[in-house]
């Protein structure tokens, strides 16, 4: 029934069909303990269904999901003790209850005693600046505070695995930043294994050790973040020169852009050929134009994501 393995999360051939629609198609993933996996995809790609199958909230049509070595189908009660989750499009906590009542409820829900829960609940509420308002009902909180309570409720049992499905959706900048800082803390300081879905790709780039992109239910790429970005480094150079000069207008009429403020000029080369680069540098040198630097263009995760989901 149980098979312990080193992976915190292991998905094998996970598939979900709703009638004729295949929402998740043969997804296999292995997430080691302590890793932050950004699970990205456009709307309707199957992210939430996959997350819910990981959590045992949607029964797969085929395939298996294991949490901490426990199969969510065969050893559900052990498996769910491994996770805390903040789910998308959901309140996640009881708005009619107070923040404190919510944390006690969700801690006991995992089988913990009140004495085990209270110190952790207090710490979480203090860290999230909610301690003073712990006895107020969550329904009266701002959206950001409500989401903080949801995060605290997911963490109150100190689970080794945290599933965060769009944790910053609908939050203002400040609240989103607080939640982002918390995810960083969970990953870096507490070593949690985190699966994060988000449309905020800058956040994913900042936090994730690894990125899996899902499109039409299938994983189309699954790589460490650095490798993913490296793979999509564009094949061209940028040359930065100190100022505008006739040579720039003459040789690169459409590829030079003056930077506002400092007057520097960026010239984008349409090539990655080293010889071409040197020819350009020779031209600039001959005209005594000071070259400030040369870069290979490095795309953001957002650029990579757009390329991937468009099928480029």
């Amino acid at each position: 029934m149980m098979q312990r393995s080193a992976a915190a999360i292991e998905l094998c051939g996970l598939t979900k069909r709703f009638g004729d629609l295949t929402a998740v198609d043969d997804v296999s993933l292995r997430v080691p303990p302590g890793q932050v996996l950004a699970f990205l995809g456009p709307n309707g790609a199957g992210k939430t269904t996959a997350i819910k199958m990981m959590a045992g909230l949607v029964t797969p049509t085929s395939g298996t999901a294991s949490l901490g070595g426990y199969d969510i189908g065969a050893a559900r009660s052990q498996a769910v003790q491994q996770i805390g989750a903040v789910l998308e499009g959901s309140r996640n906590v009881y708005w009619t209850l107070t923040a404190w009542q919510n944390l006690l409820y969700f801690g006991r829900l995992k089988g913990l005693h009140g004495a085990e829960i209270k110190p952790r609940a207090e710490q979480l509420l203090r860290d999230l600046d909610l301690w003073e308002r712990r006895d107020e009902s969550v329904g009266g909180f701002s959206r950001g505070m409500q989401q903080k309570v949801a995060v605290a409720a997911a963490l109150v049992s100190d689970p080794p695995i945290v599933l965060l499905d769009e944790p910053t959706i609908g939050l203002d900048v400040e609240a989103a930043r607080t939640v982002r800082e918390w995810i960083t803390r969970l990953a870096r300081d507490e070593g949690k294994t985190i699966v994060l879905t988000t449309h905020q790709l800058a956040m994913a780039e900042e936090l994730a050790d690894r990125v899996a992109v899902i499109r039409e239910g299938r994983i189309i790429i699954d790589l460490p973040t650095d490798q993913l970005l490296e793979r999509y480094v564009e094949d061209r150079f940028e040359v930065h020169v100190a100022s505008w000069h006739d040579v720039v207008s003459r040789v690169f009429p459409t590829r030079a852009v003056e930077q506002p403020g400092n007057g520097h000029v960026t010239i984008q080369l349409p090539t990655n050929d080293q010889d071409d680069l040197h020819k350009v540098l020779d031209v600039l040198y001959e005209d005594s134009l000071p070259v400030i630097g040369v870069n290979r263009i490095r795309p953001s995760l957002e650029d990579v994501f757009v390329q991937l989901v468009k099928g480029e």
Binding site: V58, V80, L87, G89, R91, Y94, T96, R108, L109
Partner: protein, 285 residues
């Protein structure tokens, strides 16, 4: 770094698991009561409506006056209706609210089996419903004393009362399960509540029904238990029947069977509905 510790459940003995299960069940009951307490303002209005409706209907049936014999004979039925009304409403609306807000899915991330959680919710709902019915009943008894309504009490009446409560609990569990899979459950519950009030003896004792309607009424939740309670509490020609009487003529045994069937059916349907909800991915927001 946080390590993947062996879950407690793996290490725990059977007794520890049972203790944890009971603790989690208590957690569900406490949460249900806390949520209900948060809704206490509408509860007061509902309590007032539940009382006013009875008096208005009794006045209507009595042709503008209260028929004291009828008041005595319908009290048990009406209080059973009040318990059913609140229990069904709380369970069904609670399940729907939890589905739409996503807390149902969160609560499923528990080692506790879903049906045990539903028992926690059910017990919470039943506590509230019985408390409301007790408040309504106490007010009615005060009014009955003023009107000269004759009622007797014997401890044995607790047996059909408990059977009736079990009947309501099973029915509420059944409808709570259906709420997970049937979109129009809200309308269905309102229709059922109306039928229940007209058929369980809340307005007219079932012996006054035509034979075929009496038979149909006996299939409705609470009717058999209510009939037994009425015969133990409302005197006819100055005398009340005993527990042995309602047992001997089959009323109480059939009430027990009815309650047992509804409890098992409610449990099975709730289980099946959870399985279907998980399969269809429709338990969340």
């Amino acid at each position: 770094m946080t390590t993947l510790a062996p879950p407690q459940a793996e290490l725990a003995s059977a007794a520890e698991r049972a203790g944890a299960g009971l603790r989690m069940l208590g957690n569900e009951i406490a949460k249900a009561l806390q949520v209900m307490w948060a809704h206490k303002t509408p509860l007061v209005l509902e309590l007032f409506m539940a009382s006013a409706t009875y008096w208005a209907l009794m006045l209507f049936i009595g042709g503008g006056r209260f028929v004291t014999e009828l008041l005595g004979m319908t009290l048990a039925g009406y209080l059973a209706y009040v318990v059913s009304y609140f229990a069904l409403l709380r369970i069904v609306s609670g399940v729907l609210e939890e589905m739409f807000t996503g807390t149902l899915e969160q609560s499923l991330l528990s080692p506790l089996r879903p049906w045990v959680q539903s028992v926690g919710r059910l017990i919470g709902s039943m506590i509230e419903s019985v408390a409301v019915a007790a408040a309504v009943g106490a007010a009615f008894l005060g009014a009955f004393a003023g009107l000269g309504v004759e009622l007797t009490f014997q401890w044995s009446v607790l047996v059909p009362i408990l059977v009736t409560l079990a009947d309501v609990a099973g029915f509420a569990m059944l409808l709570g399960g259906l709420a997970l899979v049937v979109n129009s459950i809200g309308a269905i519950v309102h229709v059922i509540q109306g039928f229940l009030m007209f058929l369980n003896g809340a307005l007219i004792p079932i012996f006054a029904f035509p034979g075929w309607l009496e038979l149909v009424a006996k299939l409705v939740p609470t009717t058999l238990g209510v009939d037994a309670i009425r015969r133990l509490t409302a005197p006819v020609d100055g005398t009340v029947e005993s527990l042995g009487d309602v047992w001997a003529d089959g009323t109480l045994p059939w009430a027990l069977v009815h309650a047992a069937i509804l409890l098992v059916l409610g449990w099975a349907i709730y289980q099946a509905a959870i399985r279907r909800g998980l399969r269809d991915g429709r338990l969340g927001a």
